[in-house]
């Protein structure tokens, strides 16, 4: 009884003990945050990389690639554990987006119909998948999208945008009443132009004036024409911006109803089925828009333009990014309606550049991909496999050797192989499958050599996805161990601090210990006071540490954004850490371990002082001054 009582009293009266409490709290917070962020980072890394590559990858040793991949895939797909094998070309190129941006990019050639069988690439697409999910979750569908959904996808449940945006009688009334105010504002803006001295300010005023003059006329028009009283989203927003909420928010009007959401959800799932997955197919509407915006162009030119293939751009390539509030910005309207050119350089089997240095081709941007792995999203574009293969000179070719015509086989740079569960999620399982695939590759090449078509280039390597990312992941794993070790060592300081503070308290309380013993406390009882004291500090300290750590980890991206805004520091640079968000989850088992260790460490810190207190001779303790 007296132990609890005294622990409580000492905790309240000895302020110095709070320092050790604080030390425990800080250490627990620190270790929790570091472990959670690093561990979450590693986990994100694994999931994303695994999601982006096949389970097993056959990879060429050189840019010129390796041949007979179709024969290899046919053999590999005979393995019962394998779901599919997909050839992938990886190379580098130069992209020019409508002369707005020219940049070097990594280029992947994906066979559209098969890639979804070996990785999660389709789920990274915006137009083909994620946008559907957003609609399914209730995001407004704007009129142009509604048109496309109705006409291109034949979704009749999607209501046309026009009627949804039609003005009500009440709104028309509001507009009519607001016309004089708009005119007055326009007049005020006109006068402001004359007053402004700064050229930039003047420009802004001119802009305002033009907007308002146009708006006042348009409002009158809208108010007067009951049959054609549709305000498009832009007009509605402009009126609301200039004159307040006198008419409805277009986004509210355009929100999908339940039937529309269900249709969007169904379509999102359907997207992923390979038959309807056509990510490289630019919508007709875009071509039509191009045609409409270039009315004077020759028909030949228009025809050739509308035949362009589609390209999927990583979000970073087209400058779609998160702003400080974490919202995506930069998904501009014109993005999917402009042609871009991509120049790639083919490498022949002899390792020489083909086509004298580059092959240029025009594409539409048919979609954007956000894999969340910054390395990919920042500078990767995806194009159809066969198109890229042709541009690189890797398709089957006729040639002459010693005067005789021969066929050079088509080449690829990689084969990505998907594997069924349970091998899919097991490192050992994948290694076993890998060892089955290796001999198949060799067998195909030997067979071809026997038929007189030897391949003399570098042999392709067969690796599991973990092996091919080993450099990255090994480095992260080591870094995590290192950082955890370092912070663990710092925590030893906390244990030492507890030791010192407790020792101080024991020395200071020597006489009290003598008193307690003279009234009959045993040595173990006295030791119990200080061990209990340490345990209480450990428990309360790690409890508080957990609380603070939890709050920090769960709000780490907000905190980071705030740091960036207020102090202009960006600790988490996506360029370095590969992800554009900081991991914010905690693993319960790890947390339990850390908290347990913190409590034990606090008790250990209190152990020596406790033993000293227990050993004190009561008479000498009483004589202590």
């Amino acid at each position: 009884m007296y132990k609890l009582h005294l622990i409580f009293k000492y905790l309240r009266k000895r302020r110095i003990a709070w320092v050790s409490l604080l030390a425990v709290t800080l250490c627990v917070t620190m270790v929790l945050v570091v472990i959670s962020v690093m561990g979450g980072w590693l986990r994100m890394f694994r999931t994303s990389f695994h999601g982006l590559s096949g389970d097993i990858i056959v990879q060429s040793g050189s840019l010129s690639g390796f041949p007979y991949y179709n024969e290899m895939i046919a053999e590999i797909e005979k393995l019962p554990e394998v779901t599919a094998g997909v050839p992938v070309i990886q190379t580098f190129g130069l992209i020019n987006i409508n002369n707005r941006k020219t940049a070097g990019v990594q280029v992947f050639g994906y066979p559209a119909d098969k890639i979804g069988k070996v990785n999660e690439f389709p789920k990274s697409l915006w137009r083909q998948y994620n946008q559907w999910l957003e609609w399914a979750d209730g995001a407004a569908i704007d009129p142009r999208d509604r048109l496309e959904l109705r006409e291109q996808y034949g979704l009749d449940v999607i209501r046309p945008g026009g009627p949804l945006l039609q003005l009500t009688a009440e709104e028309r009334d509001h507009l009519r009443k607001a016309v004089p105010e708009a005119t007055k504002k326009a007049e005020a803006a006109r006068q402001a132009i004359n007053k402004a001295t700064d050229p930039a300010e003047k420009d802004g005023n001119v802009h305002d004036f033009e907007d308002l003059i146009w708006l006042s006329r348009r409002m009158q028009e809208l108010a007067d024409s009951p049959n054609d009283g549709i305000a498009d989203p832009y007009e509605r927003e402009m009126i609301r911006k200039q004159l307040g909420n006198i008419i409805d928010d277009p986004n509210e009007r355009l929100k999908p109803n339940d039937a529309e959401r269900a249709a969007a959800r169904a379509q999102a799932e359907k997207r992923l089925a390979s038959a309807s997955f056509k990510p490289f197919l630019p919508p007709d509407e875009y071509k039509a828009a191009f045609r409409a915006s270039n009315p004077n162009a020759k028909k030949d030119f228009i025809d050739s333009v509308t035949k362009f293939d589609g390209m999927i751009a990583g979000t970073g390539v087209v400058n779609i990014h998160k702003d400080a509030q974490g919202k995506f910005v930069g998904r501009q309207d014109f993005l999917y309606r402009i042609p871009v050119s991509l120049t790639v350089m083919g490498v022949s089997t002899t390792g020489k550049l083909e086509f004298g240095g580059g092959h240029e081709r025009n594409y539409w941007i048919s979609d954007t991909s956000r894999t969340k792995v910054w390395q990919y999203d920042s500078n990767t574009v995806y194009v159809p496999f066969d198109v890229l293969q042709g541009d690189l000179g890797m398709e089957a070719q006729q040639a002459e050797q010693d005067g005789k015509p021969i066929t050079l086989p088509a080449r690829t740079s990689e084969i990505h192989i998907g594997v069924k569960e349970p091998w899919h999620s097991s490192t050992q399982g994948l290694i076993a499958i890998r060892d089955k695939i290796k001999p198949i590759i060799n067998r195909v090449l030997e067979e071809k050599a026997r038929q007189g078509q030897p391949y003399n280039g570098a042999l392709p390597t067969v690796r599991t996805w973990e092996e091919s990312q080993a450099k990255w992941m090994g480095a992260i794993e080591k870094e995590m161990v290192l950082v955890t070790g370092l912070f663990g060592m710092i925590s030893v300081v906390a244990v030492f601090l507890i030791f010192c503070i407790f020792y101080m308290i024991v020395v200071e309380k020597t006489r009290d210990i003598g008193i307690i013993k003279s009234v009959g406390a045993t040595s173990s009882g006295v030791a119990g006071i200080f061990l209990g004291y340490g345990a209480v500090i450990g428990i309360v300290g790690s409890g508080l540490g957990f609380l603070v750590g939890y709050l920090i980890v769960h709000n780490i991206n907000t905190l980071h954004g705030w740091l960036g805004e207020v102090l202009h520091v960006q600790v988490w640079d996506p360029e370095v850490y590969a992800f554009d968000t900081i991991p914010n989850t905690m693993e319960p088992v790890r947390v339990a371990w850390i908290l347990g260790i913190a409590v034990i460490a606090s008790v250990i810190g209190a152990l020596v002082p406790a033993i000293r207190a227990a050993r004190l001779n009561p008479v000498e303790a009483l004589r202590w001054e």
């Binding site: 009582h5 009959g520 045993t522």
Partner: protein
């Protein structure tokens, strides 16, 4: 040094009843740097139920040391102490702790109260140590009643929630007495209980001790160097040159 050194001259009269505490040939020395100071050179004393014994002696003669040994707070180097027929040296340290808790009560010259606890809590200390948290909870009422009764008798009922630092010396010593009596000790040890007090207050404390002895038959061993105070006792012994002698 042999524990069983026979004692030639015992100052204890042999004819009274029921000895509860007996010390035989107690020896104790202290190391002071290189030299060893033999403080107790064979002290013997038998304490009977209900007896009030005063031990007198000059400062530094070893009175406190003897008291600590008899109260199981310190250990002797030669000789033996028996309580109710049991030898201290044969007991575990837990057993001796139990004796200090249940059978003995101590009053010190410098009060020795715990500064963090209030008057009531200081009084309850022995009970807190004796009981587990649960049994203290369940006996709380009775224990509090006992402590408050003691404090009332000592005239401290209005000071229950005060801290020792807010009390006068006399009041502190009365709290110490209440604490010592909490568990109804069979023997009360008092080491110069008035040594730190003025004459008037010392007188009041002596009255309390005397009354305890007279009214409830409390067995008391008191150390003092004040001959006048020692007179109150049934029996006065003098510690001189490491030995106990009967006062003349």
């Amino acid at each position: 040094m042999a524990r069983t050194t026979p004692q030639a001259a015992s100052p204890t009269p042999p004819n009274k009843t029921e000895s509860i505490l007996s010390a035989r040939g107690i020896q104790r020395s202290f190391r002071m740097g290189d030299s060893v100071v033999q403080v107790l050179k064979g002290c013997s004393l038998t304490l009977r139920e209900g007896e009030f014994v005063a031990i007198e002696g000059r400062s530094g003669s070893g009175k406190s040391t003897l008291l600590h040994i008899m109260g199981a707070l310190d250990e002797c180097e030669g000789g033996a102490v028996e309580f109710e027929g049991q030898d201290f040296t044969q007991m575990s340290s837990t057993h001796r702790s139990w004796l200090r808790n249940k059978k003995f009560g101590f009053i010190f010259q410098f009060y020795h109260l715990l500064p963090e606890l209030n008057v009531l809590e200081n009084t309850l200390l022995a009970a807190m140590i004796e009981n587990s948290w649960l049994s203290f909870r369940s006996n709380r009422k009775a224990l509090h009643a006992r402590a408050i009764e003691l404090l009332e008798q000592l005239g401290l009922s209005h000071r229950l929630k005060h801290r020792p630092s807010q009390l006068s010396g006399g009041e502190r010593q009365r709290v110490a007495i209440a604490r010592a009596l909490m568990n109804n000790p069979r023997v009360l040890f008092a080491d110069e209980p008035t040594g730190n007090l003025d004459v008037e207050t010392g007188r009041q404390i002596m009255d309390v001790i005397e009354k305890l002895h007279r009214d409830s038959g409390q067995t008391i061993v008191m150390v003092t160097h004040d001959r006048a105070l020692a007179r109150e006792a049934d029996r006065v012994l003098v510690l001189k040159d490491g030995k106990l002698e009967k006062a003349e």
